[in-house]
């Protein structure tokens, strides 16, 4: 996993609630057996019409918005556990997703792939949407070390929460498997004590 570094970027706004992982990557694109290439089909059915032509009114097809930060409505990533959703977001080029609420499994999957999900209050999210609407070049600074997300234009800042262990994983670029593998002796001794 690559290391997560402080990020300054424009944002891509997607003010829709309950975006489920079937929207992020529809099931018919889950047939690949590697982790690469899912970005091409990120938000496939919102992004392309049935003739595979880009839909002009979808934000990813807009020349106005770009950046490494996706900002979305609450309960982002609900539904299927498919990690392909996190892979698609990362493969497309997003390093951060900001929302007022994340579904559990998606949040875990994102963290396990070096994509940082940042939960902010409703009002802060609204402020981002409003600012970006007024000025699409609005920049956001994400500082994982300090756990802050800041709107450069207004100086508004929010201190977000993250599990300290996951934070160190992101900063150092290591994953859970490395962590657990080093404690295999504990697992083996646990197995001998289990009754059921």
């Amino acid at each position: 996993m690559k290391k997560f570094e402080t990020l300054t970027s424009q944002v891509v706004p997607l003010p829709i609630e309950n975006i489920d992982t079937d929207q992020i990557i529809p099931a018919r694109f889950l047939k690949a057996t590697t982790r690469e290439g899912f970005g091409n089909n990120l938000f496939r059915d919102w992004r392309f019409d049935s003739d595979n032509q880009p839909k002009a009114d979808f934000v990813l097809n807009s020349p106005i918005y770009s950046g490494k930060i996706l900002v979305a409505g609450k309960n982002f990533g609900c539904g299927s556990s498919r990690e392909h959703a996190a892979w698609a977001i990362q493969d497309y080029g997003f390093d951060v997703v900001i929302s007022s609420f994340f579904a559990d499994i998606f949040k875990g999957n994102a963290l396990n792939n070096g994509v940082l999900p940042i939960q902010v209050p409703e009002e802060f999210l609204e402020k981002i949407f409003e600012l970006v609407h007024q000025n699409p070049n609005t920049q956001i600074i994400v500082d994982l070390e300090k756990q802050t997300v800041m709107l450069t234009e207004t100086g508004d800042q929010f201190e977000f929460e993250i599990n300290p262990y996951k934070k160190s994983c992101l900063i150092n670029g290591y994953d859970d498997i490395d962590f657990i593998l080093n404690q295999k002796d504990l697992i083996e001794s646990f197995e001998t004590t289990k009754k059921w």
């Binding site: 309950n18 018919r28 590697t34 996190a86 300290p164 498997i177 295999k184």
Partner: protein, 465 residues
């Protein structure tokens, strides 16, 4: 100290607890399928390590298998490749596979329980969010991503923070024509598609207690649809009777020991839940969804809630959902055209579901313009249905009984609902495009689905029974 059931099982599986870190939790059983496992096997190869406990891992092919002509090679190239990959990976890493053609093949959450692999007190995971189904036995079961599949392959453990606990009690007696699917759709409609996020839910109360094991699985299955990590029900005599004698269930002395342990698996009387909700079973009508997330559900005779009754910030998403479905707010869906009826999925494809549908449609005919697919949850369910003559009833009614798989629940195989068509479905998700690009899904119980199949429109089944 008093503990909830979740805490009892969780604590019994903690390998290591350390301040500032998630718990290292031991996983008793790992279920895998063709879609979310290949990248995890690849990860093992890259690290040069084996599956740590292959005997605690069971595989099946379900998500993208065809549901017709399963004896022939899979026609669709990518699906065939993915299923072949599973076969190859299982052989290489020493994992038991109930693949296509095997008498135990089926939807992963159907075969675990029917084979006696799913047991009370276990921790179980699968790279599939509906793993919560197994909670019906009093197990901690939840869906994981592929990185975590690799983690469990490598270590038989997961790093997990202990979840918060919620108790949902449903008391009283259900109305005629109302079943487990209606209970869970009702709860989700009440607390929303995000209302359970961060929690493990224990379902309790007299209405839950009176349900069969298969009905309990339907309830726990959809826990994820309110965002909950999992749902479970304390095991009781109904559970023990279901498990006893199944292929991989403990036998003889082992059974006695297991049973003694299982009988300790309940929430202590004074255990504290982080949240408690109570519902009255008598308030629940046959349910139907009208939108594009499972929280957008209502009693089948109700009117779709008005857009301007929604919180202002939610109105655009709400209206977008209604537009997608082709519905107007404040209108009824009763009598709405139905093009397809899908009876299947890990929510409702078990023998009791098929029996319920068969007993309703016996002697009736499907409406002319409706296509009806019944997709059994497993080869064993299919076999049982045929032994009981249900296939003849379905055939006479014009229903198509297909072969087991996830099928039109997620439209990964050929079983897709065409754009703009309405599908009344016993599955678990009504997301945009879930059953095929621009398909319109209405989630219902098997009985309500059967009624729609017969009338060709959304129907209150209470009027026909």
């Amino acid at each position: 100290m008093s503990k909830t059931l979740v805490e009892k099982i969780w604590d019994a599986h903690v390998v290591k607890r350390e301040e500032g870190f998630p718990d290292i939790i031991y996983i008793d059983t790992h279920l895998i399928h063709e879609v979310t496992s290949p990248q995890a096997f690849d990860g093992l190869r890259k690290r040069g390590i084996p599956v740590f406990r292959p005997k605690q891992t069971v595989a099946t092919a379900d998500h993208n298998v065809p549901t017709l002509n399963q004896h022939l090679p899979i026609k669709e190239e990518l699906s065939r490749y993915q299923v072949d990959m599973l076969t190859k990976n299982c052989a290489e890493f020493g994992i038991e596979l109930y693949g296509l053609g095997h008498p135990y093949q089926g939807i992963v959450h159907v075969i675990g329980p029917e084979l006696g692999i799913t047991l009370p007190g276990k921790t179980m995971v699968c790279g599939d969010s509906h793993t919560s189904t197994h909670g019906a036995f009093g197990a901690i079961a939840f869906g994981i991503g592929t990185s975590q599949v690799e983690q469990v392959f490598a270590t038989q453990c997961l790093l997990q923070s202990k979840p918060k606990t919620m108790k949902i009690e449903v008391n009283g007696t259900l109305q005629k024509g109302v079943g487990a699917k209606d209970i869970i759709l009702y709860i989700i409609a009440k607390i929303s598609a995000a209302g359970g996020t961060g929690y493990f839910i224990e379902y309790a109360g007299s209405a839950i207690r009176s349900l069969s094991m298969e009905a309990r699985m339907t309830i726990c299955n959809m826990s994820i649809e309110m965002g909950a990590r999992g749902g479970l029900i304390a095991p009781d005599q109904i559970t023990f009777d279901y498990v006893e004698g199944r292929e991989f269930a403990p036998k003889g002395e082992e059974w006695d020991q297991a049973l003694a342990y299982w009988k300790t698996l309940y929430s202590d009387e004074d255990a504290i839940f982080d949240k408690v909700l109570t519902f009255d079973a008598a308030d629940i009508a046959p349910m139907i969804t009208y939108g594009t997330n499972p929280g957008m559900g209502m009693g089948i005779t109700e009117h779709i809630p008005a857009t301007n009754a929604q919180p202002e910030s939610e109105r655009p998403s709400y209206q977008k959902a209604l537009d997608y479905m082709g519905f107007k707010d404040d209108s009824t869906v009763l009598g709405n055209r139905v093009d397809y009826v899908f009876i299947g999925s890990c929510t409702n494809s078990r023998i009791e579901d098929l029996r319920e549908v068969a007993s309703f449609v016996k002697g009736k005919q499907k409406a002319q313009d409706v296509e009806v697919w019944i997709v059994p949850g497993s080869k064993q369910v299919e076999k049982q249905a045929k032994e009981e003559g249900l296939d003849k009833i379905f055939e006479a009614a014009g229903f198509q009984l297909r072969e087991p798989g996830c099928s039109a629940c997620l439209g990964m195989n050929e079983d897709k609902i065409p754009a703009g068509k309405y599908c009344v479905s016993t599955s678990n998700r009504n997301f945009e495009g879930r059953q095929g690009p621009n398909a319109r899904t209405m989630l219902v119980s098997p009985l309500t689905a059967a009624a729609a199949a017969v009338t060709g429109k959304v129907t209150d089944v209470r009027e026909l029974i």
